[in-house]
Amino acid sequence: MAPVVQAKGATPPSDSPGPTLAAPRGTRVASQIPWLLLGPSTTVLVLLFVVPIAYVLVLSVTDPRLGFAHYQRIFTVPLYTHVLVNTFFTSLVVTAACLVLGYPVAYVMARRGGWVGTVLLTIVAMSFWTGFLVRTYAWLVILGSKGPVASAYQGLGLGKAPQLLFTTFSSTLGMTHILLPYMILALYAVMKKIDANHLKAAASLGARPVAAFREVFLPLSLPGVVNGSLLVFVSCLGFFVTPVLLGTPRDMMISQLINQQIEELLAWGFASAVAVVLLAATGLVVAVYNRFAGLERLWG
């Protein structure tokens, strides 16, 4: 899905799918065809997304009694707001870390073709395909008191390593590592399509490499940044196994609470209310992001 670089307001290229059936001009059927084509995908979206979310919404105000008692509880008991804030803050930190770490890697992958780019792509893809539970357990071994980091500390004569595991640092590190391939691949997909001639043109007009990067490459890669950031941010909001295994109870994420309510306490009404609050907060964040950065960049 290559976002084509074009001036705003240009029409899409002529080989994109459209109503090209030869129906007599002016018939109502011909003008309904776009809606008919949209039908199946709309039905799928409605059945698989809209209906369940509506059900959850209804459940949050009807189970066990009609009313907003659940929402009241969420905003009065400090635990839930604390966990919600922590979840959003952690997700922001992880997204920023992924962006900072992922951008250079994607840049090298995209700009250097040949075997360097291929090797990097293979490494990132293999990390991507390894299950996230396996990667979490790998961090348990690496950061553990008998792991390579502790041995390196002792080998370098720095004495006993500080507590690395079961801290906020380790859980954030784990989540960043797991979500990094998403960011890199999203950035790579966009950067690969950026024409190298644009940068050559900038150089021919007198721009030094840093300026060319800043003025030409960076704006063209923004769709990838938006794409990757959204993907990583929303995925991070739903994370709960990695913080449980690698972090402290203070780093608890909201999904763990929702899971507890559903599985152990069978309080489905309350769990739905928490889920609705999470959905609304996410919507708010995305809306603010749209206001400042513009989601239409996703399409180039």
Partner: protein, 353 residues
């Protein structure tokens, strides 16, 4: 330059075939499941299911011809979802006594079918709230012998004594268990723990909280912590500890003040294969299958006759062994069923503070 699949014919038939392939599993309905004399059991997976296969499912299938299929993992929430929606993934489940009581009170269980289950073939206390007793699981104090050459902790009070027994500690992230251990550490005798003085327990827990390195949630995690030496003493399920000991690791189990949780078999209300399910359960509560299961997994049999078929070395490690059960905490299922929800919230808040 556009690339496309050259023959429209080829693409269409491929898509039709793919669609048919994805939709075909939906053809298997409840009625089909019931007609092929198969029962579906909800189980934990891994070594638990492997032990069940060997001790219960295979002998049962050999004896009656009824096939047994498993669905993992155990989910109490799924029980409620199944009964409410009327679409069943499994017929039988194995849940704790407290959850069974809650399920029964909410009308999620099929009443015992006395035409299939014979009362005279059951051992005393086998029946509880429309469920049949399965096995007993212990949650114990476990420590590494090599970290305490002069002798390790013997009671929960020792676990709380960070001066006499220094070292990294871990506890199970479960409110009811943690509160029970805190009360025993504070001097309450194990058979007088219920009804729990929750405030006293939380005050005692405050003392140990700064010394707990990690609050574990999964069995494998607990074994890794002990095996890798990340912690020196911890709360652990007895079968997991016995498994490590069997593999040669220097772990020691303490039974004083341990909690013993009984797992019960239950059948989901209106499950499609309930008659066959009760036949299976009649088989599963007999002495020999229970003994076989206990020998493989170290979870205690609830049928006292089963001890006749268990070797002495294995018997000593089981929660329902007389010596062990005597010093363990006496459970109160009704109290647990009624109070878990409100304690859970307080505990989660306490942990996150």
């Amino acid at each position: 330059m556009t690339k496309s699949i050259h023959t429209t014919r080829g693409r269409r038939s491929f898509l039709t075939g793919a669609a048919a392939a994805t939709l075909s599993p939906l053809i298997i309905t409840n009625r089909v499941i019931a007609q092929t004399r198969t029962i579906y059991v909800n189980t934990w997976g891994g070594s638990w299911t492997a032990a069940e296969e060997a001790a219960f499912f295979k002998p049962f299938t050999d004896q009656t011809g009824i096939r047994v299929k498993t669905v993992a993992p155990v989910s109490y929430a799924k029980l409620k979802a199944q009964v409410q929606s009327g679409s069943y993934e499994w017929d039988i489940t194995a849940i704790t006594q407290a959850d069974l009581l809650r399920a029964d009170r909410e009308g999620l269980l099929d009443p015992i079918d006395w035409s299939v289950v014979k009362k005279d073939k059951l051992f005393p206390n086998a029946v509880y709230a429309n469920g049949l007793a399965y096995c007993a699981l212990g949650t114990n104090l476990v420590y590494r012998k090599d970290k305490f050459p002069q002798g390790g902790p013997k009671t929960w009070a020792d676990f709380w004594d960070v001066k006499k027994f220094p070292g990294n500690r871990s506890m199970l992230n479960n409110p009811v268990r943690s509160l029970q251990f805190a009360l025993v550490a504070d001097g309450v005798p194990p058979d007088k723990v219920f009804p729990m003085d929750v405030d006293r327990a939380f005050r005692k827990l405050d003392q140990i909280k700064p010394h707990i390195k990690v609050w574990w949630t999964q069995g494998n995690q607990s074994q890794q912590l002990m095996r890798d030496g990340e912690v020196d003493m911890m709360v652990m399920w007895n079968a997991r500890a016995s498994e490590l000991a069997q593999q040669g690791h220097p772990v020691e189990l303490i039974w004083h003040g341990a909690t013993i949780t009984t797992t019960m078999w239950g059948v989901a209300k209106n499950a499609p294969n309930r008659k066959l399910a009760w036949e299976f359960l009649q088989f599963a509560v007999q002495a020999k299958p229970q003994a076989d299961f206990a020998s493989r997994l170290f979870y205690g049999p609830t049928n006292p006759e089963a001890f006749k078929y268990v070797s002495p070395e294995v018997a000593r490690q089981l929660p329902t062994y007389a010596e062990n059960a005597k010093v363990a905490i006496k459970p109160d299922t009704v109290w647990e069923a009624e109070n878990t929800a409100r304690i859970q919230e307080r505990f989660t808040q306490w942990l996150a503070a």
